[in-house]
């Protein structure tokens, strides 16, 4: 954990303490602070904006209710991402693979327009993530997107570190084989992937 992570965790702990005392301003600060990363994290599980919003609110509702029982065994962000992961899985079980009903999605929730460069990068990433399992996408998001350690991911997903390692390994191999390579990566090299 670097200094920035330590500072962020200290701030989060203070917010939790205030939330445990019923401080809604603290909840609002925490909500805004986590909304972006939770949205992106959950978008690796489902593309439905309505489900993502529902899961974010379920997650922070639980965080609000259990703020006083947080023992500090892990970083606050690890704790919250773990709650979000479980809420996300529960929502997926409830909604299954229901297609997005475009008519039910308000206009302000439609995907925003990216600059060309970002869109190209998203398309590139999308081709790879589509080939991964949900658990593999989650591990890749937590490691590359959020920046969690293997131990953190194991806590979030409530599984052994070895399982996380295996998921990450297989996800990387798939991505390496699927994603269009950059300069210097030949197809012959790709064939040598594990």
């Amino acid at each position: 954990m670097n200094d920035a992570d330590t500072d962020a965790d200290t701030t989060d702990r203070l917010l939790l303490q205030r939330m445990a005392a019923g401080d809604r301003t603290a909840l609002s600060v925490l909500y805004r602070s986590y909304h972006g990363r939770l949205s992106r994290f959950l978008s690796r599980l489902t593309r439905r904006a309505d489900i993502i919003e529902e899961v974010i609110n379920d997650c922070l509702w639980i965080t609000w209710q259990k703020a006083g029982s947080f023992h500090g065994d892990s970083r606050v962000s690890t704790w919250i991402m773990g709650i979000a992961y479980r809420c996300g899985l529960k929502a997926l079980r409830q909604h299954g693979s229901e297609p997005v009903d475009e008519d039910s999605v308000p206009e302000d929730r439609m995907p925003s327009h990216d600059p060309d460069e970002d869109r190209e990068l998203r398309d590139w990433l999308g081709k790879g993530l589509d080939r991964l399992t949900a658990d593999q996408r989650v591990v890749v998001e937590l490691v590359y997107g959020v920046g969690h350690s293997l131990d953190d991911v194991a806590v979030i997903m409530q599984c052994p570190v070895g399982t996380v390692k295996a998921r990450l390994f297989h996800a990387r191999v798939k991505l390496r084989n699927v994603l269009p390579g950059l300069a210097g990566v030949t197809s012959a090299t790709k064939e040598n992937a594990p």
């Binding site: 954990m1 670097n2 809604r24 909840l27 609002s28 909500y31 805004r32 909304h35 972006g36 949205s39 992106r40 978008s43 593309r47 904006a49 993502i52 919003e53 529902e54 974010i56 609110n57 379920d58 922070l60 509702w61 609000w64 809420c87 529960k90 929502a91 409830q94 302000d108 929730r109 439609m110 995907p111 925003s112 990216d114 970002d118 990068l121 998203r122 590139w124 990433l125 790879g128 890749v140 998001e141 490691v143 590359y144 997107g145 920046g147 350690s149 990450l168 990387r172 991505l175 390496r176 994603l179 390579g181 950059l182 300069a183 210097g184 990566v185 090299t189 040598n192 992937a193 594990p194």
Partner: protein, 212 residues
Amino acid sequence: MRMPTDTGRDCARAWEAMPWVLQDSAAQEQTEWLMSHLSECDGCRAEFEQQKRLRLAMSLPADVSIDPELGLRRLLARIDAPVMETAPSRGAGGSWLTRALVAAVLIQAVGLGTLGARFWAEGTPQPAYRTLSQEAAHVPAGAIHVVPDTGMKLADWNTLLRSMQLQVIGGPNDVGAYTVMPAGGAAASTQVVQRLRTAHGVRLAEPVNASP
């Protein structure tokens, strides 16, 4: 499993180290070692470039736009809502309903049990009706059904019974028949039945257990 470039243990070590070096969470020595290896290994260098691009792509904001202020307002409204309405998630409604149904069934079971115990304690009352398939009330063997004339006086009826040492044990029923037995409970003889049939004011006398 073969490692990325098949060039040996160093490439496997480099493969392992890449995510953590990219995260800036690797030890300084590990980072320096990886940089050194990359300068010598084209395959790992290409892989590392792809990993960097992956990390960059993963760090882009979610492409599903959700208004945090709207979500926050909804969350605060949920917190302010009455307790029954604030059960978390849509799915919890199902378990709440299940619990309510189970509670209702338990209450019904307890109620039925209480009623049953009460009836048991009070004894089962005789029903106020009888179906044709049910046995008639028990009549002792040797009894006689007697139908007196409608014009027979009560004093004459009593006199007749006393003279024949009979007593009424049932009736009159719907057709005006009485059930009589010899005093002392002995079975009535054929002679008694015959005497009743010939007695003045008796319309019908039939032994109860006689075959039709």
